[in-house]
C-alpha cells in the first residue's frame, strides 16, 4: 500500500502520523502507521471511530507506539468514538 504524502493526507490522518513521527522518527513512523492502515483496510482515517481502531492497533505494538496509541485513543474518544467500534 502506498501512503499519500503527509501534506496530501486529511487532517485526522495527518494529525495521527505527525504524532507518530514526533515519537518515532519519520521512517519508522511512516512504516508502522502504514502497516496499521493496511491491517485495518484503510487508506486514511476519516472518522473518530477509525482513529480509535488505528490507536488500538498501535497500543498492541507496545513501546513508544503504544504510548502514541494511547494518546490517539483519548483523542478519538474525546471526539466521539465508541469503544468496540467496527468499520463498515
Amino acid at each position: 500500500m502506498t501512503l499519500p504524502v503527509l501534506a496530501a493526507m486529511n487532517s485526522m490522518t495527518e494529525g495521527a502520523f505527525s504524532k507518530l513521527i514526533k515519537a518515532l522518527g519519520r521512517e519508522k513512523a511512516l512504516r508502522i502507521g502504514g502497516e496499521a492502515l493496511t491491517a485495518l483496510g484503510l487508506r486514511e482515517l476519516r472518522t473518530p471511530n477509525e482513529l480509535l481502531l488505528f490507536a488500538n492497533h498501535l497500543i498492541k505494538l507496545g513501546g513508544i507506539a503504544e504510548s502514541v496509541g494511547r494518546a490517539l485513543k483519548v483523542s478519538a474518544l474525546l471526539r466521539g468514538a465508541a469503544e468496540a467500534s467496527r468499520t463498515t
Binding site: 494529525g15 505527525s18 504524532k19 507518530l20 514526533k22 515519537a23 473518530p48 504510548s67 502514541v68 494511547r70 494518546a71 490517539l72 483519548v74 483523542s75 474518544l77 474525546l78 471526539r79 466521539g80
Partner: protein, 304 residues
Amino acid sequence: MSILTSDYRKCIELSERVTWKLNEVVPSGSLLDFDKPFMPKGMFFGETLEFLSPQEQRTLNQIFGNSYAYLFYFVEAYIINMAMQHAQAAMYGDETTLRALLRFAEEEVKHQQLFLSFGDMFKQQFGVECDLVDSPQAVAEIILSKSPMAVLLVTLHLELITQAHYVDSMRNSQEVETLFASLFKHHWMEESQHAKLDVLELMKLRREAGDEQVQQAINDYFDIVGAFAGLLGAQAKLDVTSLERKLQRTFSDEQRSAIETMQRRAYHRAFLFDGLTNGMFLEFLAENFPAGLVRASQTAALYA
C-alpha cells in the same frame, strides 16, 4: 467572546504571572475569624430565617461557607481527570498546548489541596464536625461518562461562576472573613485561565462535531446540571444537621424545612442559576450551541 478568547501560550504566561503557593494562601497556624460571615450578603439568604438570632444566622453562614468551599473541592475531582485526558490527547503534539493542559491539571490538584487545607482548618477551629456530601469520585465517574463536550461545558459553567462570585460579591466586601475571601481570590486568579482553556478545548471538539454530537452535548450538559441540583439539595439537608450540632439545638420540623429550603435555594442560585445566566457562558452558547440557549433560560428559572 473577547474575554474568553485566548491561546495556549497566553494562558501559560498569565498562569505563570499569577501563580501562588499553598502556604502563601493558607499559612500554617492561620486562624479564621468566626466573628465574621464567610459568605457575602448577596449569596446567603439566612437573614430571612427569623427564628435564628443574628449570631445563629452567622453560624449558618459559616457552615454554608465551609460547604461552598468543599463543593469546589468535590467538583475538582472530575475536572482533574478531564484535564489529564485532554493533556494525554495532546501528547506528541504541540508542546505549548501540552504544557498549558498539564498546568491546568496541576493547578486543579493544587486547588483541591487548598480547599482540603481550608476544610481541615475550619473543622479544627469551628469546634464541631460539619456533614458534607461524600463520594466525589463516584460523581466524577458519572460526569465523565457523559459527552466530552458536555463535560467541558459544565466545567466552563463552574469556572465562570467561581470567578463571578469572587469579583461581584467578595472582592470589595469589608464584611467577608479575610482568609476565606483570600482563598477565593487566589482560586479566581487561576480559574480565569482554566475557563479560557475550556473554550479552546471545546472549540477543538465543536469544529469537528456533527449535529447529533452537538445535541447530545446539550442534553448531557443539562442532565449533569439536573444531577448536580440533587447533590446540592443533599448538601442543604446536611447543613441543617450541622447547624443543630453546632448550636446544640433541635429545630422543629417546620424550622428544619425552612432552613433546608433556604440553603437549597442558596446553593442552586450560586452553582446553577449563576452559571446558566452568566453573560459569558450565554454568549458562548449562542455562538456554538444555540439550541441550548432556550433550555438554559428555562432551566435557570427553576433555580432562581
